[in-house]
């Protein structure tokens, strides 16, 4: 069983990422409205024990890197009534992210 307490970040600030759209059984911290959406990494928040494992009495290793990802509100909601420049920031773990094509 892997026991890494810190994990190296594979994405850097400014990189475009897509959130995995996989369905989930059980606890996870990636809301459904962000799955399949594309955003930009705006911060690397560090590596943390995996909450999806901690929730089921596991020690939570390997640690997984948490990012702050910025999304355009208009890309999340089809009838978004606010400004076209509005954004939403969400904290998302690396195992939910793919590099997005430019």
């Amino acid at each position: 069983m892997p026991t890494a307490t810190t994990t190296r970040a594979n994405f850097r600030i400014g990189e475009k990422v897509r959130v995995d759209a996989r369905p989930v059984q059980g606890h996870c911290r990636t809301p459904l409205y962000l799955r399949g959406k594309t955003g930009v990494i705006v911060d690397v928040l560090g590596s943390y024990k995996n909450p999806e494992r901690l929730a089921y009495r596991s020690p939570g290793y390997p640690a997984t890197v948490l990012y702050k990802v910025r999304f355009q509100q208009t890309s999340l909601w089809p009838a978004y009534p606010g400004s076209a420049t509005d954004t939403l920031d969400a904290d998302i773990f690396e195992h939910w992210l793919f590099a997005a094509k430019k």
């Binding site: 996989r22 369905p23 989930v24 059984q25 059980g26 606890h27 809301p31 459904l32 409205y33 799955r35 909450p51 999806e52 901690l54 929730a55 089921y56 009495r57 939570g60 999340l76 909601w77």
Partner: protein, 130 residues
């Protein structure tokens, strides 16, 4: 006790939407009125903070979230914030072998009897274990 004001909204489907994951669904306007917490709600809050703290470390906050998300949809919508916490704390103390179900039931019967004997109104409904 404050009743939750939001309506129940069906959110099944193949998209993997869990009961708590309601972002983007229409539950009507948000109640923005400030309200005080009842004493029991403050106590439940304090209990959780102590139980997940480094000294007790009875369970992890992520387990608490999982337990709350395991609610059935209608029960989830009909219970208040701290009712969800109270049920989760009780269930996790049993799951972690800190208390047995019998011990919890015995304590609840004891407390109920004390209040009833003092002539206070006692709630008769119970929170399902599952």
């Amino acid at each position: 006790m404050r009743e939750p004001t939001r309506k129940t909204e069906l959110r099944g489907g193949a998209g993997g939407r869990a009961v708590h994951d309601v972002g983007g669904l229409d539950f009507g306007p948000i109640d923005r009125e400030e309200h005080d917490l009842a004493l029991w709600e403050k106590r439940v809050d304090a209990m959780l903070v102590l139980l997940v703290g480094p000294k007790k470390d009875a369970f992890k906050l992520d387990m608490h979230r999982r337990m709350i998300e395991d609610y059935g949809q209608q029960t989830y919508d009909r219970t208040t914030y701290y009712e969800k916490w109270a049920r989760s704390i009780r269930n996790l103390l049993v799951e972690q072998d800190i208390l047995t179900r019998d011990e919890v039931e015995a304590m609840m019967a004891d407390v109920t009897a004390t209040h009833r004997n003092a002539g206070r109104e006692v709630a008769t409904d119970t929170i399902a274990w599952l």
